[in-house]
Symmetry: C2
Subunit: 397 residues, 2 copies
């Protein structure tokens, strides 16, 4: 039996294998990107489910359109205005089965083998997986603590700009680094890329989860050319298991995406789309987000302060203003993947940083998630991590 | 902005455009493939939704595994034995977002550009769309009223067998023809393909909807080599809008499919999978199917008898023993696509047959669906169709 080139290149995700190890309840896992289940609005969902079937009846479980449930797309258009400063209509929105599907659809719509994709370095592993299916070449744009460095991007564009087919960025609470681009960076970025006609994919699943600092306008809200494609999601602000997310794009792009989605899975769940819609109609999703912000913000601060107190001074880490992750940098020469068994022995888990770099290397980092652990386990887990780090740093001397 | 080769080749589905026209309530539509909503178990679903949240709580809406909810896969393994005669375990099953996703995943796993795919002629349009994304060459295997003709397949295999990368078949109540392969055809088929190592994709969304005649063993149940991949679905026997279907395949194949699905959409809806599982646990799905069989069988018979009474004798059509469709053949020279406006003028709709043929031609067919219209509209719709047919046939003379 012969597999396709694509299938022959598929490898097990390192994260996936690690997450399997970390599902035992005794492990303090900072590895996943899971929202905290204790804040899922379960009681509200029970009422939502009844409303969906009482009000929409059989239409709620019948086949429906590929682009998605119109009233939900209209609600999302309002939400794009109030939460992301983006003026758009339902016609510019398609519902996807999670943002991961948005990534894979756009990968298929824009990329052929050996095409050039620009990404932050590091960047979201799941996006690299989706793009990799088409076999492109990744060029990693260097970043600092404020995101992509305009001068570095400029150099890359001078050399490769004409061949770039897609650029993927997470300007808000980036996965994996937790970094946010300040406004001046965003403006400088757009000024550079506007000279080219490749699409910018702005992935923003965490944008509403800001714990401090000023809200910064999304790239999509600053885009005057229709060059930015925006991915938003209910996974982090409502419920990940429904698999309801959305894409905002120029209608010419959306037309391709809709036709592709029809061949790929016909449509996303009719029922789940209405669960999201009725939740937004019956309850105040912004108030729910506000509660999440309060809890996650405390956890973020607790993890940061505990790391500051216990981690050896040779180890640095980011201070995320929002989102789910902080990014830890070990001294050069240390390897977070090799350190994993020692960490797991202490019943703690993280995600090693290597796989977040499209072209390898950079193994002296790991990602920590703070949204999914209660306070006492955050403190205990960070202390255990600190023990391993101290031992390992000592070996370097 | 440059699109990929794949995106440049995307065209609007003819069916999709037609279905848009036929959503007005005054149209008697035989065009879709919709199950009858009046038999959706809505009251049961209300109880199921409560049970999902009461019993599984937050896990029912959290992220979960790519392969799908284990208890559901175990239930499906039992169902595969009782309904399709297939011995398999949960480890051989992945949950997909509808069978359409199964088709597109397998397309990516097996096909590169210009690879050879064997299909029935005609065959399911949605499968052609999914395979077409990889740019393969289709070879249409001639069929008669008993399905694929072994002698014709033999000839094709002699010439192309070594280059075939995938064969797609619907042996049970085929879409679009309604034809079922008898046992001896299935055996002859397997004897031929067993000499090669390409996978056979058996798509069986309607297999449980048999109205008369003897149940025939599925290809998967007769397969001793692990060559057959089976696609089953809840869309026609439970609820299409949940988008829950399954694939049964050899673990080597499934491993590729799981890794690909992770990059494509991470997982299918956690909640919808549990809706299907709890429905199967709390209610008797076979009893529900039995009710559907009774109603759809009557509609099938009514449509067939009405066509027999009113259609001009130059027009022929199939007698489906199950499933959702009958296939109408017009005299050579007639064109069902060109006839569409006249039919729509009479407020009736069908799907023209041309798009079901991978390599074009064969425009003198159309597909009728009988599951989604009540008795009186079936009779009225067929009569109106008959009027157009008589006029058009008369023109040929």
């Amino acid at each position: 039996m012969k597999f396709s080139k694509l299938a022959s290149g598929l490898k097990a995700s390192e994260i996936r294998e690690i997450l399997k190890l970390t599902t035992q309840p005794e492990i303090i896992s900072f590895a996943g990107g899971l929202p905290a289940p204790e804040f899922f609005p379960i009681e509200e969902l029970k009422k939502v489910d009844v409303a969906v079937l009482e009000k929409d009846g059989r239409a709620a479980v019948q086949y429906s359109t590929t682009e998605g449930y119109l009233p939900l797309r209209e609600k999302i258009a309002e939400h794009m205005k109030s939460s992301f400063g983006v003026d758009c209509t339902a016609e510019e929105i398609i519902i996807t089965s999670g943002s991961q599907q948005g990534l894979s659809l756009l990968s298929q719509v824009f990329l052929d083998a050996d095409d050039v994709v620009l990404v932050e370095s590091p960047t979201y592993l799941g996006a690299l997986n989706a793009f990799s299916l088409q076999g492109p070449k990744f060029i990693a744009v260097p970043t600092d603590e404020k995101g992509i460095i305009p001068e570095e991007l400029d150099k890359i564009l001078q050399e490769h700009g004409k061949n770039v087919r897609l650029m993927y960025v997470i300007p808000e609470f980036q996965n994996p680094t937790g970094i946010t681009w300040p406004l001046e960076r965003r403006k400088a970025f757009l000024k550079l890329v506007e000279q080219y006609d490749f699409p910018i994919l702005e992935d923003d699943p965490y944008g509403e989860l800001r714990y401090d600092g000023e809200k910064v306008p999304s790239l999509k809200s600053l885009d005057t050319k229709g060059q930015v494609i925006f991915l938003g999601s209910f996974s982090k602000i409502f419920l990940p298991g429904l698999r309801v997310a959305w894409m905002v794009a120029d209608p010419v792009i959306l037309d391709k995406v809709i036709k592709l989605k029809q061949a790929v899975d016909l449509q996303s769940s009719t029922f789940a789309q209405r669960q999201a819609y009725y939740y937004m109609t019956m309850y105040d999703i912004d108030a729910h987000v506000k509660n999440l912000v309060e809890v996650y913000g405390k956890r973020r601060t607790l993890m940061y302060n505990t790391m500051k107190e216990y981690f050896p001074k040779e180890v640095s880490f980011t201070y995320p203003e929002g989102g789910l992750f902080t990014w830890v940098t070990l001294p050069e020469g240390m390897d977070a993947t090799e350190m994993m068994p020692k960490v797991l022995e202490k019943k703690v888990a993280y995600v090693p940083g290597g796989p977040f770099y499209p072209n390898g290397g950079h193994r002296n980092h790991f990602r920590l998630n703070y949204s999914n652990m209660p306070d006492d386990r955050i403190v205990e887990g960070v202390k255990r991590l600190a023990e391993v780090l101290k031992e390992e740093v000592a070996k370097l001397k």
